[in-house]
């Protein structure tokens, strides 16, 4: 679940952005994208945020929904004007990226 963060604007703290991303749920699993380990990189520069993330599987049925939700929640943050959500497949997502709690949740 490690997220690489580069922040140029201290007003946009990593915690604030990650907290917003943690509200984005995978509606099939009921787990947020941060706990799932889907977020790879965050670039916080001025009033712009670039999110590099993946999905659990290429051709994920929730591609658009999750991308739109990420964009919407970040755009609602104070001081944010530009959000770029990049869905990447390299490296592919692996269950090892999930938080322990998320893994336990799925093993129920």
């Amino acid at each position: 679940m490690t997220i690489a963060v580069t922040a140029v604007n201290p007003a946009q703290t990593e915690e604030r952005v990650v907290a917003a991303l943690a509200e984005v749920l995978d509606p099939e699993l009921g787990i947020d994208v941060v706990a799932l380990g889907l977020v790879y990189e965050l670039h916080l520069v001025g009033d712009a945020i670039t999110v590099q993330m993946t999905l659990t599987t290429p051709g994920c049925p929730l591609h658009d929904t999750i991308e739109r939700d990420v964009r919407g929640r970040l755009e609602r943050l104070d001081g944010v004007r530009y959000v770029d959500v990049q869905i990447v497949w390299d490296p592919p997502w692996h269950p090892a990226r999930m938080s322990l709690a998320a893994r336990d949740h799925l093993r129920l």
């Binding site: 509606p27 947020d32 706990a35 599987t57 051709g59 990226r97 999930m98 938080s99 322990l100 799925l106």
Partner: protein, 424 residues
């Protein structure tokens, strides 16, 4: 996988849904007929009434579900747009009434005009679908064993319809008897093994992996399965049309394909992250159990029981299981995806009714098992149990799908956001 990989690849919700709803209704009607006339399970499968129910299950149920699912699934697998989504409406307008005409043609006692007219309509609809699919396939940059399985399945389905039409026309054109020989086993093989078996194996590989979160499972078994099915059907065709004495080769290759199917499912389940198996997935996984029963019945010289195990057990359970998941996803995407982020939105599983899932699984499972046993031992009481159980399961499935589509769903499941963060 189920809905669009991206919005611009998604097709209108109504196109797949009308196939899925019509198909599930056909299953309920078929099992209700068997509940009212259980003797059809113990008698000869070639009598018109039994053929009517068989085609209700194969054409009106399995074929419509397969077509509906493929309209949605194939462009997503190929990461491209469906060539002409609206052709799906025309396909439905041809295949659904065509299937009804064929069922009616058998139910009324082998009425050739209905069989021929219905067969021609179904064939035209399938050819249209093939055109749509092939154009989509050619436009795609990315193809894999799963998308190839979908394409092969569609082509096998068309050949099944073509052969079925020719078989029906033998009554009017006796010359066809000499050309076709005894083509019923090939017709059955193309439909059950080629069209439905390959589609279930392909879609199942992808959907099962996605729903239980399995990653990195080789697709080699799926590719070999397709070769085995192709070789089995080729052997059957050579036996049928050229009289080649190939003995049990086709049956052995079919058994090999069944074994590969089971091995593929086991490989996916072994590396799954979601330990708990949901009821619809368990329903899907109950299907291969009936493949084993079909193998045993074949070895025991009871092809009629084997056909019943494959159709009522493997095909019906595998489709019923995935149908609930597919309908849930499509409906969630249609009704709630746009509202994500702007309020409380139910999860996909909030659309499902666990009780109906369990009744569906138990009813269809008991129904199929009892039907096979009734046919094997010519047991009227078992046939009665099969009919009632199967009808309960099939109507529970139809009711469940209707619930998913029309009910005013609300978020009832506590979400797992935030607290699940932490170290990996």
């Amino acid at each position: 996988v189920i809905a669009g990989a991206r919005g611009d690849n998604a097709i209108p919700y109504g196109i797949p849904m009308r196939f899925l709803m019509a198909g599930s209704t056909a299953l309920a009607i078929a099992w209700t007929t068997l509940a009212l006339r259980p003797e059809l399970l113990t008698g000869h499968l070639g009598v018109p009434a039994a053929l009517a129910v068989t085609h209700l299950l194969t054409l009106a149920f399995a074929t419509l579900i397969l077509l509906g699912a493929m309209h949605q699934l194939v462009p997503v697998l190929l990461v491209t747009k469906l060539h002409a989504p609206r052709l799906g409406d025309v396909t439905f307008a041809l295949v659904a009434p065509g299937a009804a005409a064929i069922v009616l043609g058998f139910a009324l006692g082998y009425r050739v005009p209905l069989l021929a007219g219905g067969g021609a309509a179904v064939l035209a609809g399938l050819l249209l679908f093939d055109y749509n699919l092939v154009r989509t396939f050619l436009a795609a940059r990315r193809r894999d064993a799963v998308s190839v399985a979908m394409l092969c399945s569609a082509l096998y389905l068309t050949l099944t319809a073509l052969l079925g039409l020719l078989i029906a026309l033998r009554v009017v054109f006796p010359a066809l008897v000499g050309v076709l020989g005894y083509a019923t086993p090939l017709h059955l093989g193309l439909g059950l093994m080629g069209a439905f078996g390959v589609a279930i194996a392909g879609a199942g590989h992808r959907l099962l992996s996605m729903f239980v979160l399995s990653h990195g499972v080789s697709r080699a078994r799926l590719a070999w399965l397709q070769w085995a099915v192709g070789a089995a059907l080729a052997a059957l065709a050579l036996q049928t049309f050229l009289g080649w004495p190939l003995g049990p080769l086709a049956a052995l290759l079919a058994v090999a394909a069944a074994v590969l199917f089971v091995l593929d499912a086991v490989a996916i389940l072994r590396v799954r992250l979601r330990r708990r198996i949901e009821v619809p997935i368990a329903t899907y996984l109950a299907g291969p159990v009936f493949l084993a029963a079909a193998v045993v019945a074949t070895l025991a010289g009871r092809p009629d029981v084997a056909v019943m195990a494959v159709l009522l057990g493997f095909v019906t359970l595998a489709i019923a299981g995935m149908l609930v998941k597919i309908t849930g996803f499509l409906t969630w995407q249609h009704r709630f995806a746009a509202r994500v982020g702007s309020g409380t939105v139910p999860l996909v599983k909030d659309l499902m009714r666990p009780m109906l899932e369990r009744v569906t699984a138990a009813g269809l499972g008991i129904g199929a098992a009892a039907a096979c046993a009734a046919a094997a031992w010519s047991s009227t009481p078992l046939a009665g149990v099969a009919g009632i159980a199967g009808a309960i399961g099939a109507w529970a499935l139809a009711l469940h799908l209707a619930w998913i589509v029309v009910a005013p769903h609300t978020a009832s499941t506590p979400v797992a956001a935030g607290p699940l963060g932490g170290p990996p």
